[in-house]
């Protein structure tokens, strides 16, 4: 069964600091990888996704993530965070390629990010 681990439960940073949130997955096959974000009082929304090709993926609001297949990782990064980045971040995985029947997403437990002005 597929699983996702997010080891950082709560991260506190000052504005302008650099960010890296860890995500490791377990899945026996081709994968699609996602980061979703939930801002306070809002619904979950897609931040970025990796399906294939360039393992460095750029998303909205200056975020990026790098797929490292050998490490089963898909860490999220941002060079300089802002107070508005305060949110909960979820890594997720599903079966990619032609693995029909693997459309369901498996989410990690999430990382709460607090940015101090």
């Amino acid at each position: 069964a597929q699983s996702v681990s997010q080891h950082n439960h709560h991260v506190i940073l000052s504005e302008a600091a650099s960010l890296e949130l860890g995500c490791n997955y377990s899945y026996g096959g081709t994968v699609n990888l996602f980061w979703y974000v939930q801002y306070p009082g809002q619904h979950l929304q897609l931040l970025l996704k990796y399906f294939s090709g360039d393992p460095l993926v750029k998303g909205i609001k200056g975020f990026e993530a790098e797929f490292i297949k050998s490490k089963f990782s898909f860490n999220l990064r941002k060079p300089s965070v802002q107070w508005s980045d305060t949110a909960e971040y979820f890594c997720a995985v599903n079966g990619g390629g032609t693995n029909f029947g693997n459309e369901k997403l498996t989410f990690g437990t999430g990382t709460r990010l607090t940015i101090i002005p």
């Binding site: 699609n32 979950l44 929304q45 897609l46 990619g96 029947g101 369901k104 989410f107 437990t109």
Partner: protein
């Protein structure tokens, strides 16, 4: 509509009662998902519809949980004989292409007393 709509936003019920939670997906989205999120956890998959049929219901915890999507649009999650452990945020999402970008609703917070 503009986004995925879920009603009610909050539901308080008593142990043993029956509840229905409604999801109205984005118009034209064929794939619809139900997730459950407990406090401090990530969303947990319950069931996925492609059109009217349940393509994957492997996440439903037991036979008290059932979901339908009779016309391939609106879906209803039904929980019989509710238990206190069913208390959680129930999230619905839809996508234009199965397995790709999911659009989530704001959820229904279910509290079983």
């Amino acid at each position: 509509g503009a986004g995925v709509s879920q009603t009610p936003s909050n539901k308080v019920t008593e142990k043993g009662k029956y509840v229905e939670l409604r999801c109205d997906p984005i118009s034209g989205h064929t794939a619809l998902y139900w997730y459950r999120q407990s406090l401090g956890q990530g969303p947990e998959f319950l069931i996925y519809f492609q059109g009217t049929g349940a393509a994957d219901d492997s996440g439903l915890p037991n036979d008290r949980f059932f979901a339908v999507r009779p016309e391939g649009s609106v879906s209803t999650l039904k929980i019989q004989r509710t238990e206190r452990g069913d208390s959680a945020m129930y999230l619905c999402a839809s996508s234009a292409t199965p397995g790709e970008k999911l659009f989530f609703g704001s959820g229904t917070q279910l509290s079983v007393l």
